[in-house]
């Protein structure tokens, strides 16, 4: 058997052992400095589709047309960031990357203007070898995110000259060298191997150039810019002060928007909204544009809170501010704030909606095609917001929800058997009572007071404590002690590309405390993580 990093958190293990356990408790109250934690070996991460596209645009210009089909991304243990470190490149993917590499190289080099940008030393079609060699020596490090060895430069130069000679066109020849770089594992994978730490015998740290890549993907979701690579060449990124300077520069750069979008898209699986599927006869507001629009609403809200305001991230659950286009406004039944695109607006004071748990992206994304789902909504809140583990449903039971009949019309009544039957209740009692609090929102997120004429009871229960309705749930979720820890854990998994090891629990606790001390600022958490030993150091290769 392949052994995967175990999730490790004892609370999860307990939870898994039996769904009927009481609400999870913290394992220990002593917070250690996470300096002495034992870190696993580094992992090799493949650039995901978005990262590949952004890297290519950074390298070759915004005008190049990206390939439409590449190796797909896969979500493992809740994150595509982890999937990218587990999956590999299929034979079909190899074919696609090769084709993409030549297409992109040709786009970059086949027009005169573009050629000049890359090869200022070239004149017409007659250029000296040192010019080609210089190209790979200068441009190569941006592609592979580290300096090339002499051997590597020679190889790229050699194939370019040979191809140029055979084809009678030096520029076309150069396409072969560039295409070789773009399909190399040194481009397609993030090669972060670590090196012995000169200050701590027996320990390993990431090298300067590896740190540049780690920082740029964490904070900007793309390859390092020239300045970051320069900092790496000076040795700044293995130096606490130099690192801090770069992290602060990066966090105040606009590109942090790309990093935030990538992180929350992954954490909340917002990419799946592309496939949002609803029965159009039940949900007349449904159209293929609803899913992507709902994702944008959520991301704009997050960017506003995190990037513009540097606010308390927990406000994401209770804020009255949101960003709507006309389509979403009609689903929510409020006036559109703006004619074109998305505009900021506030829910009226008496509106039943607050924060992320009142958004279509969450409400519709975790419902059935024909109806709401207290189970799926509760499961998302448990797993994604609180990092509690819910086992898969057993495979051999009838999971259909009874149809509404006289005297049993509301979803609450229909799923009641989940909680009445002991066998089902083990797990459903930790999901359904939360999701039932959101029953005023139908399967698309539209507000409703009644279901088939019966007034909806929007009360529910969170960890044994009853709450009144969706507002009350949002307020309680905002204060949930596991919320900051779960966010911290997810950020650390995302930053490291793997399921955390047992030993890293201390790091989670440590950073969660830091998060609280910084007024729950998400940017402060990112900064803290980027500067942390867990991010800078690694276990050695086994």
């Amino acid at each position: 058997m392949i052994r995967f990093q175990s999730a490790g958190f004892v609370l999860c293990a307990l939870f898994l052992a039996s769904c009927a356990e009481d609400s999870p408790k913290r394992v220990s109250d002593d917070v250690r400095e996470p300096l002495d934690i034992e870190l696993p070996a580094p992992v090799l991460r493949r650039l995901n589709q978005a990262q590949y596209g952004r890297a290519v645009h950074d390298l070759l210009g915004e005008d190049v047309v990206l390939p439409t089909s590449l190796e797909p991304d896969e979500r493992i243990d809740g994150l595509r960031a982890i999937g990218s470190a587990v999956t590999t490149i299929s034979p079909r993917g190899v074919e696609q990357y090769e084709q993409a590499a030549f297409d992109l190289a040709a786009q970059a080099l086949d027009t005169k203007g573009e050629r000049k940008r890359f090869l200022p030393c070239l004149q017409d079609n007659d250029f000296p070898d040192p010019c080609i060699e210089g190209f790979f020596r200068d441009f190569g490090p941006r592609v592979w995110r580290r300096p090339l060895t002499d051997l590597e430069v020679d190889r790229m130069t050699g194939i370019s000259i040979r191809a140029g000679g055979l084809l009678g066109d030096a520029y076309e020849g150069l396409e072969f060298g560039l295409a070789a770089m773009l399909q190399s594992p040194n481009f397609l994978f993030r090669v972060e191997l670590g090196e012995p730490d000169p200050d701590a015998p027996g320990e390993y740290r990431f090298t300067d150039y590896e740190m540049a890549t780690r920082l740029s993907f964490l904070l900007w979701d793309t390859i390092p810019d020239a300045e970051l690579l320069q900092a790496a060449s000076r040795g700044d990124l293995t130096d606490a002060e130099g690192l801090e300077e770069q992290v602060d520069r990066m966090l105040s750069d606009d590109r942090v928007e790309d990093g935030l979008r990538a992180y929350f898209t992954d954490m909340f699986s917002l990419y799946s909204l592309d496939e949002l599927n609803k029965d159009p006869t039940v949900f007349t507001h449904m159209s293929p544009e609803v899913g992507p629009a709902a994702r944008e609403e959520t991301l704009l809200g997050i960017l506003h809170l995190v990037q513009d305001q540097d606010g308390d991230f927990r406000d994401l659950l209770t804020t009255r501010t949101t960003f709507l286009d006309r389509r979403l406004s009609s689903i929510y039944g409020v006036p559109a704030p703006i004619w074109d695109g998305f505009g900021m607006t506030e829910w009226p004071k008496d509106h039943g909606r607050r924060g992320f748990l009142g958004q279509v992206s969450f409400l519709a994304g975790h419902s059935h095609a024909v109806a709401s789902s207290p189970t799926l909504r509760g499961k998302f809140i448990r797993e994604v917001l609180l990092c509690h583990m819910i086992p898969a449903p057993p495979a051999d039971v009838d999971t259909s929800i009874p149809e509404p009949v006289e005297g049993r019309v509301t979803m609450r009544d229909r799923v009641a058997k989940h909680l009445e039957d002991d066998y089902c209740a083990g797990c459903h009692s930790i999901t359904d009572p939360i999701g039932l609090g959101l029953e005023n929102f139908d399967g698309l997120g539209h507000w409703r007071d009644r279901e088939y004429g019966t007034t909806i009871d929007p009360s529910g229960e969170l960890d044994g404590a009853p709450f009144d309705d969706a507002w009350d749930l949002a307020a309680r979720m905002r204060e949930h002690p596991d919320l900051p820890e779960c966010l911290t854990k997810t950020v650390l998994s995302y930053a490291s590309g793997r399921t955390l090891s047992d030993g890293e629990w201390d790091a989670v606790r440590y950073h969660a405390e830091g998060l609280e001390a910084e007024g729950h600022s998400f940017l402060a958490l990112l900064r803290d993580v980027a500067l942390s030993p867990a991010f800078r150091n690694t276990g050695g290769q086994p």
């Binding site: 243990d77 194939i159 070789a180 090669v191 191997l193 583990m389 086994p542």
Partner: protein, 444 residues
């Protein structure tokens, strides 16, 4: 020596201790024979037709058992009437590899012969422990063609389940035009034409040599798990390099081969519904011609995934949702299954129209048609839906219904198919799934 996946498999299969700390790909079967050809020098081929979310066993299983008039097609199989004599229906078979995670366990058990490899912390995802049946076979009979195997799909969002090994899927092509460009684009040569003469092919191979050197260098520096991942990448590069070399050779000379017409450039959704039938038929035509032109000898065609929710014609919700939400006899689910069978019928009919040697393409291949579960509502892995099309050069029965009354292991069917293709395998499957005998009722 570079340890390829093929070497690795063989090494494990032959019981050699693999000292490299690669994640062990388990023993699927021992291989000592070589695939033998059908008559007239025609190759053996294998196809897989998969749809997600199973069937309604009550409306699926045929009445009567045996051959010819001894059995009749059921309601869900009725769309296959025109090809009844060309197919064999096997019912009543069970997966023995466990049903821990709905759908996912069934996919792995049915297609890899082994239990789903679940992650230890109880996450709801898992992966295959070894290659899927199409790749197990492709490793044996796929080595001589331009493509070792091809993977295609129909419903938007389908990601298929063709696995080379753990966490290494072969994603299907869903766009008929892209499929056409790939197989029958500028590099395709019809029988009688000469291979491509272009210095770029050799240069691209040189580039790939360099990429392989990059991988090899990196492999020496990473963990054993990552080494295995890079090894898969390496295998893909080497296969591409071989493919480029083959383009310089004269193309295979099969009489039935001709360049097909290009499909539509796009198949946009109409009123929120994908054009499933049009896409399926365009893709089928391309797959069939790719086989007839000996571009590949193994294909897998993923009609839909488990959990697919894209709308089928005329129904009110996604297939997976309906299997759980539709009340009563589930007429809409029934309608979807029949729709899929109608599309399968088209594919079988087309295969039977291609003349090869003394028979047809369908005579020189076998296609396994199945799903991951039987009854969608309960995720049952008993009484699995299985249809076989073709006879593998006279080695597999056609026109019969075999029903197992004892819930025999589905892997016996797989082993029969593997052996029918000329692969000498003493057994198939792992642990509870392992079998050493085929299902004699379907063998000739």
């Amino acid at each position: 020596m570079k340890l390829s996946r093929r070497h690795l498999l063989k090494g494990v299969l032959q019981g050699t201790a693999v000292s490299l700390a690669l994640p062990p790909l388990e023993i699927f079967f021992d291989i000592s024979g070589k695939a033998y050809a059908c008559g007239a020098g025609l190759p053996q081929r294998f196809g897989l037709f998969y749809w997600g979310n199973g069937n309604l066993p009550e409306y699926w299983n045929p009445d009567g058992e045996g051959a010819g008039d001894e059995w009749a097609l059921s309601e869900q199989l009725s769309p296959l009437a025109s090809v009844k004599d060309l197919i064999t229906v096997v019912s009543g078979m069970s997966q023995k590899t466990g049903n821990l995670i709905p759908h996912a366990s069934g996919v792995a058990g049915m297609l890899s012969g082994a239990a789903l490899q679940v992650y230890e912390d109880g996450r709801q995802d898992g992966t295959f422990a070894g290659p899927s049946i199409d790749q197990t076979i492709a490793l044996e009979i796929g080595g001589e063609t331009i493509y070792r195997s091809i993977e295609t799909g129909v419903l938007p969002g389908t990601s298929g389940n063709s696995y080379n090994g753990p966490n290494n899927k072969n994603p299907p092509e869903l766009d008929p035009y892209a499929m056409y460009e790939r197989i029958f684009g500028p590099t395709f040569r019809e029988p009688g034409e000469e291979g491509i003469v272009d210095p770029r092919l050799g240069l691209r191979r040189s580039v790939l040599d360099g990429v392989m050197a990059d991988i090899t260098k990196l492999e020496a520096q990473v963990s054993s798990t990552d080494k295995a991942r890079l090894d898969q990448h390496f295998t893909g590069i080497r296969e591409l390099e071989q493919r480029l070399a083959r383009l310089e050779e004269d193309p295979p000379n099969l009489e039935a081969c001709m360049r097909p017409d290009a499909p539509e450039a796009e198949y946009p959704e109409i009123e929120g519904r994908p054009q499933i039938s049009a896409v399926h038929r365009a893709m089928s035509d391309l797959v069939i011609m790719a086989v007839a032109c000996d571009q590949t000898r193994v294909f897998s065609h993923w009609f839909s995934d488990q959990l697919t929710n894209k709308l089928f014609p005329e129904v009110s919700a996604g297939h997976h949702s309906l299997t759980h939400d539709e009340p009563g006899e589930q007429p809409q689910v029934n309608q979807i299954v029949q729709f899929v069978m109608g599309e399968l019928c088209y594919m079988v009919e087309q295969m039977a129209l291609i003349e090869e040697g003394d028979g047809t393409l369908l005579d020189n291949m076998v296609m396994l048609c199945t799903s991951e579960i039987s009854h969608g509502m309960t995720h049952s892995i008993d009484d699995m839906p299985i249809i076989l099309a073709g006879n593998a050069c006279g080695r597999i029965q056609q026109g019969i219904h075999y029903r197992s009354h004892t819930g025999e292991n589905v892997n016996t069917v797989m082993l029969s198919l593997i052996r029918a293709l000329g692969i000498n395998a003493p057994g198939y499957g792992l642990e509870e799934g392992e079998v050493s005998n085929g299902l004699s009722a379907i063998e000739v």
